[in-house]
Symmetry: C2
Subunit: 219 residues, 2 copies
């Protein structure tokens, strides 16, 4: 069981803290807003009121005992930076921080943190990709321009073989069917005459350009 | 080439608009903040100053000509809701909207939009999962509790066969190796004596509980 300290209980910090609790971890949440802390008291292992720009308050939180410390303070650059400075002085090693701008990101990197997150920007990019490729439900980037994508199985593909489906889509030769999830089973051996059923989930792999040309012909 | 209208050019809206441009689409950005619009004028096909709570201004934007309209206004519930109301009156069908709270989400659903997004919450959940499973780089949910995960290939696995690796990890029998990406190649046929090399990326599939028990023994 791991222990996490989450500083700043806005939408982003609270979502992290709640999900870490759901995954079975010990989570202590900290914020200066007493009303907020009281409201969230039952959602975490512990919820504490503290001003993290005060080094003494951070020392009392015993921040080095945690597997990771998350700092999710967005609207005040000064607060976020001071907090990180104090955590580093106390010897905290694993720090994940929200950044609100490129300038904020640069300062955080110079101070030395484990990971900088821009929630709005990272989600914005994902949403744009979902708008641009409506037939792709989710994807994984595997490096060297190779992607795994999970695609909508169109009704006209039901009870058709992979050979039939791929022959309709020219340019498909550089895309491979990787796996089909059928109910609770994962099928990894996919011969050309494998037949797709209605509730199947199909995962393909290929280069970005091959998948793009496939996507344009998809709909 | 598709056409998108992005209303509200904060961090989230701007990230969507820029990524849609990068993917080769026509993108028109709209905001009431003239300074912001001027700064972003070269990043989009067009950047316009307008107050979207004014139905006449929206009518002049010809919002129905777009494949989708994104409304990325977070801090004013009233502005977001009025904008959606006008878009629906004008007959816009495909509307994706940022929500800032559960109450906001409920109202948007009642008005009838295509998709509601909580960028901070959705990113918060992803970050918590990355903190909880440090060995998993990315994942896909395939339904029925089945996941695809891309995992770190540990140095002690280099030049070892899949048989050797999986025998070290008990409980691994219910997890399947789905694909290995090696440089620009995707290997989908993975016999037990397949040897992993240093820069390989390994993708596994299994139920959440099987992957969880594997993860705990991983490190
Ligand atoms: N000095 C401080 N010590 C502890 N908590 C603080 C301090 N300053 C601000 N906070 C808290 O951090 C939380 C998040 O801060 P803020 O509102 O700046 O972030 P945000 O990025 O706008 O939030 P969201 O995650 O909702 O987008 C708030 O609940 C605030 O009370
Ligand atoms: N009536 C309006 N018409 C057009 N644009 C507007 C209107 N009201 C607000 N905006 C713009 O919407 C943008 C985003 O709004 P807001 O700051 O409320 O969202 P946010 O969710 O806090 O942003 P972020 O994406 O940075 O988290 C701002 O740039 C603002 O100028």
């Amino acid at each position: 069981m791991e222990r996490f300290l989450v500083i700043g209980l806005g939408r982003f910090g609270t979502a992290i803290a709640k999900e870490l609790v759901r995954l079975g971890n010990i989570v202590v949440g900290v914020d200066t807003d007493a009303k907020l802390v009281n409201r969230l008291a039952d959602s975490f292992t512990e919820a504490l009121i503290a001003d993290v720009t005060d080094e003494q308050a951070l020392r009392e939180l015993n921040a080095t005992q945690y597997d990771a410390v998350v700092v999710a303070i967005g609207s005040s650059l000064e607060t976020s930076i001071l907090c990180i400075l104090h955590l580093k002085t106390l010897g905290v090693k694993n720090i994940w921080v929200k950044a609100a701008s490129k300038a904020h990101h640069t300062i955080l990197s110079k101070l030395g943190v484990t990971r900088v997150i821009h929630p709005e920007v990272e989600m914005g990019v994902r949403i744009a990709q979902a708008l641009n490729y409506p037939m792709i439900n989710q994807f994984m980037r595997l490096g060297n321009g190779i992607y795994l994508v999970e695609v909508e199985v169109k009704p006209q593909w039901h009870n058709k073989t992979l050979r039939e489906i791929f022959s309709q889509l020219s340019g498909a030769d550089s895309v491979q069917a990787v796996t089909v999830k059928r109910k609770t089973e994962i099928k990894t051996v996919l011969p050309k005459d494998f037949v797709l059923l209605e509730e199947d989930r199909l995962v393909l792999a290929g280069s970005q350009s091959a998948l793009k040309s496939l996507a344009k012909r998809w709909f």
